[in-house]
Amino acid sequence: MTDGVVGAVIAALAGMGVGGGGLLVIWMSLVRGYEIPAARAVNLAFFVLSAAAALPYHLKTRRIAWRYVLSLTAAAVPGVFLGGHLAEILSPDTARRVFGWFLILSGGMMLLGKMKRRGRMPRG
């Protein structure tokens, strides 16, 4: 039951397109005691399901920018295979840390930009 509620909240974020931030991996590993690879696999399957559930509504409201989506996805597919092979050769730990810093920087810049815009808004 708790799994269902936690899943629904994280899936709502995924359905909005915001993503889950790996919240489910944390839930599965810390609360349910799964090993990280297993938690990650469950997380991926979970995202497939929640994205598939969200898709019909987004198609209905015509929110999909197909001209970008098709080229992005077509380019991403061979990238996944290459990344998968790289994971067998390289230790992904360093890449994970570098990417982590990139995310912190991107999120921080987004928040900072938002605060700056708010500061520029006229008060009234």
Binding site: G4, G7, A8, V9, I10, A11, L13, A14, G15, M16, G17, G19, G20, P37, A38, R40, A41, V42, L44, A45, F46, F47, L49, S50, A51, A53, A54, H58, T61, R63, I64, A65, Y68, V69, S71, L72, A74, A75, A76, V77, P78, G79, V80, F81, L82, G83, G84, L86, A87, L90, A95, F99, G100, W101, L103, I104, G107, G108, M110, L111
Partner: protein, 142 residues
Amino acid sequence: MNFYRITNTNPAPRALLAFCVVTAAGFCAGIVNGLLGTGGGILLLLILRRVCKSGGEGGARDAFASSIVCILPLSGLSLGMLLSRGEVPAGTVFSWEQLPLGVGAVCGGALGAYLLPRLKVPVLELLFAGLLIFSGIRMVMG
């Protein structure tokens, strides 16, 4: 790089450059997802936010919705690769034990899609920025 300053000069190079940037970004997002098993969707959303920017608030919502279409095959492929490498037995993912989570995923996914046009864009962006920082900290900490 200011994508729009470069691409707003001449229509033909603009379309070509947009195509190249989007394709390269998609390829990088795929590598990240294949290598780390996560994070590709975030990269895709970051680039979609840039290219859909000209659409204003509607464009921002389009970026969020479009990222879902990209994440769907990416997550499926990454899952397939994880299972085929034998790192995780398929029975761990596809078991009755995960049924509540699956039901939550379907209900929550549909609810999220319903909420997207109803929430204000700054709220969505704040959520996204928060999750970016959270994911980043999680990755840095290992």
